[in-house]
Symmetry: C2
Subunit: 162 residues, 2 copies
């Protein structure tokens, strides 16, 4: 019993679904990511790195709420990470001059260096993994993956309003 899907759909869809499941497990499940972080001599969890990286690509001075939206987590999660990272001098908070409820966050030089180390380690890892890929496959993979991310994002925002 078990084994095959009785209701067969588009085989490409099944293939994507299966691979996506594996990718999700690989990427989320400590192991791989933490290994890259250790190698980058970075003492921070995945969530920390994601926040810092996001901050680095978001330009200076982002509000906490915007960070939450970008990371697709909710407010308390961002609050905690920011507090912790602030304590470690990896980012700094300044009050928003236009809204006294809010605060703006920006990377410190140390935070920026950390992000660079992570990006560098990730690039090294990816280059190793994609070693035998053709130039064309890499470009195609990047393009499709990016498109997938935006389409999933749109789908998440679509049904229940923003």
């Amino acid at each position: 019993m078990a084994s095959v899907t009785p209701v067969a759909g588009d085989p490409d869809i099944e293939c994507i679904g299966l691979a996506l499941e594996s990718v999700g497990r690989l990427l989320s499940q400590g192991r791989l990511v933490e290994q890259i972080l250790r190698q980058a001599k970075v003492d921070a969890g995945r969530a920390d790195v994601a926040l810092l990286h996001n901050l680095s690509s978001a330009g200076d001075c982002v509000r906490l709420g915007e960070l939450a939206d970008r990371l697709r987590v909710d407010a308390p999660t961002v609050t905690r990470r920011v507090q912790q990272l602030g304590g470690r001098q990896l980012l700094r908070r300044v009050p928003d001059p236009r809204d006294k409820r809010a605060s703006l966050v920006h990377l410190t030089p140390a935070g920026a260096r950390l992000v660079q180390r992570v990006l560098c380690a990730r690039r090294t890892w990816l280059e190793r993994v994609l070693d035998r890929w053709s130039e064309r496959d890499r470009a195609e993979f990047g393009r499709l993956l990016a498109r997938f991310v935006t389409d999933v994002g749109k789908d998440l925002e679509g049904p229940d309003g923003h």
Copy 2:
């Protein structure tokens, strides 16, 4: 400060890395997956589903250790999941006749039905997300994603031996 990568590498690599980060967050972080599960009326976590699905594609009667290898988690994790899923009659354990230390696991009909519901919901979701994708892009995405998974797997096993 911040913003761009001072050390630029292959732009495709950067693009893939960036998208991969997003995909990882999307797939690991409850939200999306749990939404699919809820819609499939499945009362089980991601880890449970991953185990059951793996079991379903592994054929009958797999040992716990083999499950751990396939899922890339360690033994205690599998033990706990199997205990819980066994209690819910979604899988059954039988002692391994050839090794009294080990036990074999197989899906029950209820477990197989659960997996089918999840696959079905996932297919529906993916079809919606990939709605406007060309046939060619879907096929290409599936191919590249699958290749990526196997290459990452090889990389994980390579350095430190299996």
